[in-house]
Symmetry: C2
Subunit: 254 residues, 2 copies
DNA sequence: GTCTACGTTTCTTATAACAAAACAATAGCA
DNA sequence: TGCTATTGTTTTGTTATAAGAAACGTAGAC
């Protein structure tokens, strides 16, 4: 069910409420007028959504009729995470990969849309090191994990991705159109790893590899991330460890 | 806005969708028929909710048309948590309190309903120690943190609590009616600490104290939890450290 | 093979949700 | 201090929509 046939099942107000929650990715606090503007609603309507979400703990109201994400979301999120076994399973591998490479290692999964969510990480012990807050969502093609996941998705999914994704570049090297991305995915499949060379942040280089289920579909990806100089210097060894680790985790996936 | 006047603002389908998510506290996986039964809907209606929630990443669909919590919730939850500054602020205090007492220490907040959410913890280094998964929600009056928070809430809130809470006992010593709870709250206010003596789990004793904002309202609570023997043996020292810590955190609250 | 339970789909209509608009409260500024 | 602009809150009528009923498809149990 991708995009089209689903339309007939969508409960619009439920979807709007989720979209309102998602507005908080870009804003710490919002009031009814702002939500109304961003959602294309009247203030009255936005007010009802906010009130309903607040009464159920998904938002909290600060002093002056402004809203923030509520801790009910934290509670549900922790539960979702605890029941998602992949991180448990792969953490020891990530830790070993960090030790082998000396660089920070990540586990990311696709949230089904066009983003990748970072769900586990083992931070490098180097003074100069990379770190990203767990739970962070990043547009897939900006990251090596995202590219590795995309590379092993169905043609249909990739098509959908190309149609719905914003290709605004965020650094000078960011992939900025569909052709470029398709080429890059092709290049990820062939050697079995993907690369983010300063495409998400200047100075940052990541190598990624997919976690595949037994059907060969990608369900997640891992990456090694570090400063450009070190990453390129040790590229060969990092790639070997990375791919070994990805295969080892994949083989454990149910 | 407590309970009554709010009725006129509730968006019913939004609220239903949240209630469906909350069903997953008690079940790891649910299908449309189960959701329909628990929610008093038809299967067709439940199916629409599930589909909508799935398409937005709040649920994921497992092989055979059954659903689990999705990692989109994890992502939002981590964001909610990261922006909630109380844990940052109080973590060093919790750590010191653990060192002083040797027992696991917790920070819990009220989610606005009748539950307490555990948002931070420093685990004891003893062999016999207590641990609870972060994000866990427990009915307030089953816990020392909950009692401490309730004790410093408005009369109206407590009344609402008594009306909406289920007093089914979970151990032999659980508070099992309103009179018992009111007495207990009175006893929490007076010495400034609350106690959970095997009321949530046999063998487990917790002492709790409230974090108060400058108006004297409770916004959270901390607790020290350990095996009954040790907790009673060191009661006096634990209570002093606990109350000092609670006051110190309270004084830092904005 | 039959039965049962569940997922999926269509159709229809009661009603929930929304826009519009008025009122209230607040903040900024003269 | 009082005026104005902005935002939050509330009400109302209309319309879009949510959801029941019911049929169909499918899968597993016996």
């Amino acid at each position: 069910m991708q995009g089209n046939e689903y339309e007939k099942y969508r409960l619009q107000s439920v979807e709007k409420s989720i979209n309102i929650l998602n507005l908080f990715y870009d804003a710490e606090e919002l009031g009814a007028a702002e939500v109304a503007a961003k959602m294309g609603m009247t203030r009255g309507t936005a007010f009802r959504f906010l009130t309903t979400l607040e009464m159920n703990g998904l938002l909290i109201r600060t002093s002056k009729a402004r809203y923030r994400l509520g801790l009910q979301l934290y509670s549900l999120g922790q539960l979702a995470y605890a029941r998602f076994s992949l991180p448990d399973l792969s953490h020891p591998y990530l830790a070993r990969l960090m030790e082998a490479t000396g660089e920070t290692t990540f586990l990311g999964i696709s949230d089904g849309s066009t983003k990748v969510i970072y769900v586990d990480r083992v931070v490098s012990t180097s003074t100069l090191r990379i770190d990203i807050r767990l739970g962070t969502r990043i547009t897939a093609h900006h990251t090596s994990i995202g590219k590795s996941i995309l590379a092993y998705q169905s043609e249909k999914f990739i098509q959908h991705y190309l149609e719905t994704t914003d290709f605004t570049p965020i650094t000078q090297r960011t992939i900025s159109d569909a052709t470029m991305l398709l080429l890059e995915l092709e290049q990820s499949r062939h050697p079995g790893y993907s690369c983010d060379d300063e495409e998400s942040e200047t100075g940052l280089v990541c190598f990624g590899a997919p976690i595949l289920d037994r059907t060969g579909q990608s369900i997640a990806g891992i990456s090694v991330s570090g400063p450009r100089s070190r990453m390129l210097e040790n590229k060969k060894e990092i790639l070997i460890s990375l791919q070994d680790t990805a295969r080892a985790i994949s083989s454990k996936v149910i």
